[in-house]
């Protein structure tokens, strides 16, 4: 997953796109270490639950039961895709970026 995510960030560096992580490591130090090790350049919430790291408050509220779980949100914060991976993720992201661009063009014409 990390290499794919890094490539998406690179590919869409000129677009309004961001990855936001929610990390469930045992400790915040371990989470920072994991970010460094995997060369992640994006922002992350820390959501570790201590002895039982997967029971952090954010993952619990979002009812996450498998890791990784992903949501793709559009510019209005609306959930548009859940758990899409690989080429499906690439295409979904492409769709949302295109919609973002179309919305800007429509605004410019007003």
């Amino acid at each position: 997953m990390y290499p794919h995510e890094r490539s998406l960030v690179k590919k869409h560096s000129a677009d309004q796109f961001a990855i936001v992580g929610v990390n469930s490591e045992n400790t915040i130090e371990a989470a920072r270490e994991a970010v460094k090790k995997n060369k992640l350049t994006w922002k992350n919430f820390y959501d570790g639950g201590g002895a039982n790291p997967t029971s952090g408050p954010i993952a619990t509220r979002w009812n996450v039961s498998g890791w990784p779980t992903t949501y793709l949100l559009d510019e209005n914060g609306v959930i548009r895709y859940k758990d899409v991976r690989g080429e499906t993720l690439d295409a979904a992201l492409e769709t949302l970026i295109d919609q973002w661009k179309a919305a800007r063009e429509a605004e410019a014409k007003l």
Binding site: Q16, F17, A18, I19, N23, L73, N76
Partner: protein
């Protein structure tokens, strides 16, 4: 050749079962020629089945260890992602015929139910062996519908795809089991499966609400009860569906800073729940 022989044997066995089923189920039957599941399983039969299954399980564990070795040996995430395991050699698929035969050889035992449970989860994922599903589900309904151990099978039923076979097994367990633990687990798994697709979402939600009302005290897993579990699922159905505005997240970033999901409005966002375990 070995595979063909095994299949022929299984088909024969299953044909016999299917012939017996209607006779067995009829109230006016005077003579029962054979019983697919002896009403009383002796302790010796149970022990023999358990030992045989343990042995097979050990071989399966070894096969999994060997199959997944390349993933374990990969040093980086990149290396791991590049590895493609041969689906033909997946131990789950390789052991299916043996598990299926085992269940026919040890009818009525708790070990047989465990084997049937494994057949369901593996055959659900493997197109070539889908034909086993219906037969296995029919057998479980015929032989095990009153067993309390059925809970262990239906408890994670929502991890299998919502095939007609899987749904009919869960419905039968929910409606016909005399045990609250089985009923609650089956309603929950059914609610989760139906809730996951748009056409059946309303029914799925109803079933989960029923679990909340009637089965909240039934233990789910480790320390949790279905009451605790289902609260999160109902929140997901109501607020985390495609088309809904993502709930706000306010929390601490890894640099100790305050972070807010809504601060990313205006951008397309990939929200990723992850852990580097």
């Amino acid at each position: 050749m070995k595979m063909i022989a095994t299949h022929a044997f299984l088909l024969l066995k299953v044909t016999i079962l299917l012939c017996i089923a209607p006779i067995h189920g009829s109230a006016s039957t005077v003579v029962i020629l054979d019983d697919p599941a002896p009403a009383v399983v002796t302790k010796a039969q149970e022990t023999a089945a358990r030992n045989a299954l343990d042995k097979m399980q050990k071989r399966m564990d070894e096969a999994w260890t060997e199959y997944l070795a390349p993933l374990r040996e990969a040093k980086t995430a990149e290396e791991r992602d590049a590895i493609e395991l041969d689906p033909e050699k997946d131990p789950g698929v390789m052991f299916l015929p043996e598990l299926f035969k085992f269940s026919s050889d040890h009818p009525g035992t708790a070990a047989c139910l465990e084997a049937l449970s494994q057949v369901i989860s593996m055959a659900s994922r493997d197109e070539k062996n889908r034909w086993m599903l219906k037969q296995v589900v029919d057998r479980i309904i015929l032989e095990y519908i009153e067993h309390e151990e059925l809970k262990d099978l239906v408890r994670f039923g929502h991890y299998n795809p919502p095939s007609p076979e899987n749904l009919s097994l869960l419905r039968a367990a929910a409606d016909r089991s005399p045990h609250r633990t089985v009923q609650g687990s089956a309603f929950y798994a059914l609610g989760k499966l139906l809730g996951s697709s748009e056409e059946t979402r309303a029914e799925g939600k109803q079933l989960l609400q029923r679990v909340q009302k009637e089965y909240a005290d039934v233990p789910f897993f480790r320390e949790t009860t279905y009451g605790e579990k289902v609260a999160g699922d109902l929140f997901e159905l109501d607020h985390l569906q495609v088309g809904q505005v993502a709930p706000e997240i306010i929390g601490t970033g890894l640099d100790g800073d305050l972070m807010q999901l809504s601060a990313f409005r205006g951008k397309v966002v990939l929200l990723d729940f992850w852990g580097d375990w």
